[in-house]
Amino acid sequence: MGAIYIMWLRQLKRYFRSKSRLIGAFGQPLLFLLALGFGFGPVFKQAGQGDYISFLVPGIVAMTVLFTSLSSGIEIIWDRQFGFLKETLVAPVPRLKIMIGRTLGGATLAIFQAIIVLLLSLFVGFKVPDVHSFLIALMFMIFIALIFTALGTAIASRMQDFHGFQLIMNFLVMPLFFLSGAIFPLQGLPKILDIIVRLNPLSYGVDGVRGALSGVFHYGLALDLLVLASVAAVLLAIGSYLFSKVQI
């Protein structure tokens, strides 16, 4: 227990002490929300799709979780570079516990940020129907957070330095986000795009959060949950395995 807690606490302390991290964390989602939301709003309405902001907010919330959790997972590379990783790797604590502590820390921060983004979106007209739907959305956010923290951990466990980092940000995070239905509706997509979106686990997270908050699921609550839970289980297993094999 002690080890998991202290790993978790460390993530939180580092996060709240870094002002630039805080600003960056909210800047990006807000930019996407405002620029896309107000930019595409009129077209969306003309096409008879209703209010774009209401549609977009769950997507931006999911994006916030994705960005923060993946980069927390990847923080292992920083720890390796600055040397601190060694301290945790030789400790008389099973690596699984270290990994769990890190994952929970990353997930906590991701959820925290997503909730703030959700709160801020209330100012641009978004409405959360009731506590019940918020809690369901929260559950989906937790799944997204666990999946991508674990994915980040798995990737970072195999990387020796920063060089691959930018590559991952460009070729993993952005496609995951853009090809998830976060910013466009999933009805009537071209066949290929539809298939790609279906293969992206984030799509089910976005659908879950959006379904919970708007009442309309595209894939359905059950399928969303099933896919997310399975992917989370697999990635957590892979992440813990790779982390347990880290050598320095």
């Binding site: 002690g2 080890a3 807690y5 202290i6 460390r10 302390k13 580092r14 002490r17 870094s18 600055f82 040397g83 601190f84 060694k86 301290e87 945790t88 790797l89 030789v90 400790a91 008389p92 604590v93 099973p94 050598q247 320095i248």
Partner: protein
């Protein structure tokens, strides 16, 4: 009782052999110095003993457990001060020690007491609430040494602990190490480039160069073997020209040919 046992240990990185078939053992309660020029393979050996790196071949035993197969058991038996920085820059000095104490399950009361004692010992008590990133190199080093002394393990690894420290601090730290060794029978395995430290502190010394142990024994024995009057001269004689010339034996030539062929 034997505390550390290494036999036929080898570590290859791709084609480069960093540690080449070394064997030695350290008895419980002994202070053992592992000396060698830069790149000799000291840190690599320590990494293998401390479960950070798996050997290419050979066997290891630490306090009776195998660092390859019984990593968790082994991790319970040692403490280490790394050669490279390993504290969290964005935590305070106090938090770094607290973090360590919790990972190592030091009882709460004892932990508080030891943190205070050690921070005072390394003269960082006044700076305990400063972020480590604001520390000078020597201050960071002192903090990491304090951290290494925080839980009292059976075996303590110190990889160039005194690097970058002033002479007063260095001698303080060795006094402390000797005290721990005597009072708690802690086995100490250290590396250093300061020969007088090794001569003064170590019960047994091994000299390693190019991944191979060239000589091992008390400082007295090493001096006798090389017919020198101090350890520094013995070291230079062993790792300088003499031994390497001697090593250009047929075996060495063959190894070089094999290496060339593998390229």
């Amino acid at each position: 009782m034997i505390s550390i046992k290494v036999s036929k240990l080898t570590k290859r990185f791709k084609r480069f052999t960093a540690v080449n078939n070394i064997s030695f053992s350290v008895n419980e309660g002994e202070i053992f110095a592992f000396l060698g020029p830069n790149g000799a393979g000291k840190t690599t050996t320590i990494k293998m003993l401390t479960t950070l790196l798996d050997p290419s071949s050979g066997t290891l035993s630490l306090n009776g457990a195998d660092p390859v197969k019984e990593k968790n058991t082994v991790r319970k038996s040692f403490g280490i001060v790394f050669q490279d920085p390993s504290s969290d820059d964005e935590l305070t000095a106090y938090e770094n020690l607290e973090f360590h104490g919790i990972l190592y399950k030091v009882p709460k009361k004892l932990l508080k007491h030891r943190i205070e004692e050690l921070l005072k010992f390394v003269e960082l008590w006044d700076r305990r609430d400063s972020m480590v990133k604001t520390f000078s190199g020597g201050m960071k080093r002192r903090l990491e040494i304090a951290r290494g002394f925080l839980h009292h393990p059976k075996i303590l690894f110190l990889d160039e602990p005194t690097i970058g420290l002033d002479p007063q601090t260095r001698s303080h730290i060795w006094e402390y190490v000797k005290k721990l060794n005597k009072e708690e029978k802690i086995t100490v395995f250290f590396t250093t480039h300061y020969m007088e430290e090794a001569e003064r502190v170590a019960d047994k010394i091994a000299i390693i160069d190019h991944g191979k142990i060239i000589d091992i024994g008390t400082a007295k024995k090493l001096k006798k073997d090389t017919k020198t009057r101090n350890l520094e001269d013995a070291f230079i004689k062993l790792t300088g020209h003499a031994i390497r010339d001697e090593e250009s034996t047929p075996a060495e030539n063959m190894r070089m040919r094999i290496r060339a062929r593998n390229r």
